[in-house]
């Protein structure tokens, strides 16, 4: 006969509850997915980047805008001063390059407005570069320009005093006269060979058709001390006769940019801010090689110094990929600090707030991991509860069945489940013996299978002598016949009979014979 697989009630109960649980959790997950809960990390990130970008771009715009205004104002002031000094010496602005002997005196006269400009601006340096040199006979003299450069070591201080000011370019005697400490990188004149902050505004100003408000020039270049990258705002000095005397302006170096514009990195530890110029012909590129950086310095070295390609996405952060396959995610936006000047490089300054892709994705995963962890914990809890509940409901059923099996005549405790209690009652009734029903008008005991099984068990408790008597009774002999057969007295047989009845729980010979009949049937 083929064995049929059976699943117990307990297993069915557990399976049912687990199925219900899984269905519920799937529905919950689906709802969470549809409502965008799994995108919470992405949304938080986007909000974070938007906020930091807005803050940085607004502040940079504001800061550099003020520097532009001050640069233009200082240009006018210094030009006026220089012209006055030249006039006092009966010289014209156009004579500047031909009279190197007056250069140091001219520079000395501009000391106060430059220092004042430095003190009242949030910047790291102020410079004045004259289009003339002290010694035109030297080799490469065309690149050597007399000037002054003062560096502010505490640009964020409220009160800047001489102790914070260092001397980087200019005549040594002026530094000594004013008690300024010279920096290690001091030289007397500027080398303007690669100085875009001098060459471009001066050359453009010489074209003669633009006002100062169109001539101010922002550029990003290696700082004067050579250790940093700096943003320079320079304005040409245009005398009343139209000659260009030089340029003046402010410098904001990398360190100040970092102090002022490093984004909040509590959520993204490697988030950083960049300021770079975007050529109008390459608006899909972001030049990370020539940019101001505000972030953790230990990460600065890992940023590839090259142009990154921008990949825009509608709903998420942009991707910035370099040739070295480093990918950043973030946002960027232009700021307006450049002059409206057709001769300057066309494009715009762009502020970007970026972070490595793995950090951003890690943050998203972290957020989702929390949700998933909660779901997993809930599932485990519900599974445990399912198991406990199913056990609780199964237990009374199991107990009832066990009782029915082992103690057929014992009343079974109510389970509290009406259907189970009714079933137990029906089975119990069927197992109960009908009391004292008579055969042929006599009482005939009703024996059930449980009683028979008990009877069989009890036969094993008979002694040898009792067993001998019992066997003869099973054959249908009377007590006298058994006595004759075993050569025992009738009293001995009666004693054995009494003991047999007691051990086998029978009350008469008739009942014993009934068991014999059942046994015969059983053997067959």
């Amino acid at each position: 006969m083929r064995k049929t697989r059976t699943f117990s009630l307990k297993k069915r109960l557990i399976a049912l509850l687990l199925l219900f649980l899984v269905t519920v959790m799937l529905c919950v997950t689906l709802v969470l997915y549809i409502t965008g809960v799994f995108n919470v990390g992405k949304n938080i990130n986007k909000m974070l980047f938007k906020r930091e970008l807005l803050l940085a771009s607004r502040n940079i715009n504001d800061h550099f805008g003020k520097l532009t205004i001050r640069s233009i104002s200082m240009s006018k002031k210094v030009t006026e001063l220089l012209e006055k000094q030249l006039n006092e010496r009966h010289l014209q602005p156009i004579d500047l390059q031909d009279r190197p002997e007056v250069l140091h005196e001219l520079l000395s006269a501009t000391f106060d407005p430059l220092i004042e400009g430095l003190r009242s601006s949030v910047c790291t340096g102020v410079f004045l570069i004259l289009d003339a040199t002290v010694n035109p006979c030297l080799e490469n003299a065309e690149f050597s320009k007399a000037g002054l450069y003062f560096k502010n070591t505490e640009p964020n201080a409220v009160d800047v005093n001489n102790k914070n000011i260092r001397y980087m370019r200019g005549p040594a005697e002026l530094a000594r006269k004013e008690g300024l400490t010279m920096l290690p990188q001091w030289t007397m004149e500027f080398d303007v060979n690669d100085a875009d902050y001098f060459n471009t505004p001066v050359q453009t100003a010489k074209k003669g058709d633009l006002s100062l408000s169109q001539l101010y020039y922002w550029c990003l270049q290696s700082s004067v001390d050579g250790y940093n990258t700096s943003m320079f705002c320079s304005v040409p000095l245009i005398a009343s006769d139209g000659s260009v005397l030089g340029t003046v302006g402010f410098e904001t170096d990398q360190l100040l940019f970092k102090y002022n514009y490093a984004p909040d990195n509590s959520a993204q530890s490697r988030i950083f801010c960049m300021l770079s110029f975007q050529d109008s012909d390459h608006i899909e590129d972001y030049d990370m090689g020539n940019a101001m950086f505000a972030g953790n310095y230990s990460f600065n070295d890992k940023i590839p110094k090259e142009t990154a390609r921008i990949h825009h996405t509608k709903s998420n952060l942009n991707r910035y990929t370099s040739d070295k396959e480093t990918v950043f995610l973030g946002l960027h936006c232009p700021i307006r600090i450049d002059a409206d000047n057709p001769y300057y490089k066309q494009g715009q300054w762009v502020v970007a707030v970026l972070a490595p892709e793995e950090d951003v994705k890690g943050f998203n995963s972290e957020q989702n991991q929390r949700i998933i962890s909660v779901l997993v914990v809930l599932t485990a809890c519900f599974a445990a509860i399912s198991f406990l509940f199913s056990n609780k409901y199964y237990k009374p059923i199991r107990q009832a069945v066990n009782t029915l099996e082992s103690k057929p005549n014992t009343p079974v405790e109510k389970t509290g489940i009406s259907e189970i209690d009714r079933l137990v009652e029906v089975v119990s009734k069927q197992n109960q013996p009908v009391k004292n029903k008579k055969l042929q008008g006599q009482d005939t005991p009703v024996i059930n299978i449980g009683m028979f099984e008990t009877f069989l068990q009890n036969t094993k408790t008979l002694s040898t002598a009792e067993k001998a008597v019992y066997d003869l009774y099973m054959k249908g002999l009377t007590a006298n016949e058994i006595a004759d057969s075993l050569h025992l007295s009738i009293n001995t047989i009666k004693t054995h009979t009494k003991r047999i009845y007691g051990k086998l729980n029978v009350s008469s010979r008739r009942e014993l014979l009934l068991y014999a009949q059942m046994m015969e049937n059983y053997i067959k």
């Binding site: 400490t181 010279m182 290690p184």
Partner: protein, 456 residues
């Protein structure tokens, strides 16, 4: 029942252990809720970048792990920083709030210690930890038996020589470099140099150039007197009388008045950049201010090479040099901030970081391990040639010299400033007078008259 009783007792014991464990300082910090510390320092210029990188490195490694963020909020010169610290400590109007950590000289720390504004590092360092540091450096930061200033970057004074200019001078005059090992020798050499440079412009007499400059006049006297066996300070006052003081004064006064020594209220590196001096005594921390060229007023320039020699000694004196350089102090605040501040300082002064800082700044290492590594040849991996030379000389001095730790009474700094201002004024006035008198009489007579007028 017995089993249950034992279980309960064990559970209570575990709870107590957990509670006690939670009481350790380690649990004060929490990487999920980092504490932000503010730092002021005086490592400007080229050193600023090195300092920035170290701080960023800390923030992204140990700081991130332990929950500490260090932010530099002020970088300034020593003197400006000192003024700022005092102003903040005395809560002058408009003064900023003191940071968590600031670089500070012991003479300044005294003022803060008086107001009980500083922690005692002895509470945070075990004996084993302290034994890793040079004992003299630790001792310098002790004020009233409490360690208030922890050494991070020490220095001493050495002799910087423009070897290129000296070689040219030596070739023509026969002056040897050994002359520069004593102050008396420098004094004689300065006179010869002045005469030699004056002779090069025969049409303009009296415009010879200075040979030597001293960064710290006060240290010149303090160390000089100590070399000759007497202390410059006594009962919180200066000893400005006696044979030893007179000898030191004479060694300085004569060449300064006659033009062989530069009288300059600034760093001698400023004068060296224009070739206006040949040698100077100054802090080892000034090494980065010596470039590789000098620029003359007509914009011509010359590539030069510098040499670094041990601090000169007065004849017959003991080899002594001053121990300089500041340390870091931690301002009292919350337990969390104080503990975090000390954790940063411990990391910063560990051999690896200390060496890195030393190799980029020219300061001396503060741990014995770092010193040993330099001795073993780590100095050869330093890119800056001048720093290489400096460290070699500093290590040599470490073995041959005794180092004077300046006293730390609360009027010390004021005494120092007043002495320098007054003495410099005397020199300047005397020099101006000498120049005036030299127009009408010979130089020797002019000098004697000036000397007599000063009551020297």
């Amino acid at each position: 029942m017995i089993g249950k009783s034992i279980t309960i007792r064990l559970f209570i014991l575990v709870l107590i252990c957990c509670f006690l464990q939670g009481c350790t300082r380690n649990d004060v910090l929490d990487s999920k809720n980092p504490v932000t510390l503010t730092l002021w320092h005086n490592y400007g210029g080229v050193m600023q970048s090195a300092m920035d990188q170290l701080v960023d490195n800390f923030n992204s490694t140990v700081g991130k792990e332990k929950g500490i963020i260090v932010t530099i909020t002020s970088i300034n010169s020593s003197s400006a920083l000192n003024d700022k610290i005092i102003a903040a400590a005395t809560k002058d109007p408009g003064a900023p709030e003191l940071p968590n950590i600031t670089t500070c000289y012991p003479a300044i720390a005294v003022h803060l210690a008086e107001k009980d504004l500083l922690i005692d590092f002895y509470d945070y360092f075990s004996d084993t930890e302290l034994s890793e540091y040079v004992e003299d450096f630790i001792r310098e930061g002790v004020i009233d038996q409490q360690l208030r200033v922890f050494p991070v970057a020490k220095s001493t004074e050495v002799l910087f020589l423009n070897q290129t200019l000296f070689d040219r001078f030596s070739e023509q005059t026969g002056v040897s470099i050994e002359q520069l090992s004593t102050f008396e020798g420098i004094c004689r050499t300065a006179k010869i140099y002045y005469e030699w440079t004056d002779a090069s412009t025969p049409d303009t007499p009296g415009n010879g150039k200075a040979f030597f400059a001293i960064d710290s006049l006060f240290n010149f006297f303090q160390v000089g007197m100590e070399q000759l066996g007497q202390s410059f300070t006594q009962d919180q006052a200066l000893v400005t009388a006696g044979n030893i003081y007179q000898h030191i004064h004479d060694t300085l006064f004569e060449p300064a008045v006659q033009g062989g020594y530069a009288i300059y209220n600034g760093y001698s590196t400023d004068l060296s950049k224009t070739g206006d001096i040949v040698c100077s005594t100054g802090s080892t921390a000034g090494i980065l201010f010596y470039g590789d060229k000098i620029v003359y007023p007509d914009n011509t320039s010359e590539t030069v090479e510098y040499s670094v020699f041990p601090y000169p000694v007065f004849q017959g004196g003991e080899k002594i040099a001053v121990q300089r350089g500041n340390g870091m102090t931690v301002i009292r605040s919350s337990e969390k901030e104080e503990y975090a501040s000390v954790e940063f300082i411990k990391w910063f002064t560990r051999a690896e970081q200390n060496l890195r800082f030393v190799m980029e700044t020219g300061y001396l290492p503060v741990t014995k391990t770092a010193f040993d590594q330099i001795l073993e040849g780590t100095a050869n991996h330093i890119e800056n040639v001048n720093i290489q030379k400096l460290l070699s000389t500093a290590i040599k001095m470490q073995h041959e010299y005794r180092f004077l730790i300046p006293p730390t009474f609360n009027t010390y700094d004021q005494l120092r400033r007043e002495f320098e201002d007054q003495y410099r004024t005397i020199l300047k006035t005397s020099r101006d007078l000498y120049i005036e008198k030299s127009k009408s009489t010979d130089r020797n007579t002019a000098f004697q008259e000036v000397k007599a007028g000063q009551g020297s």
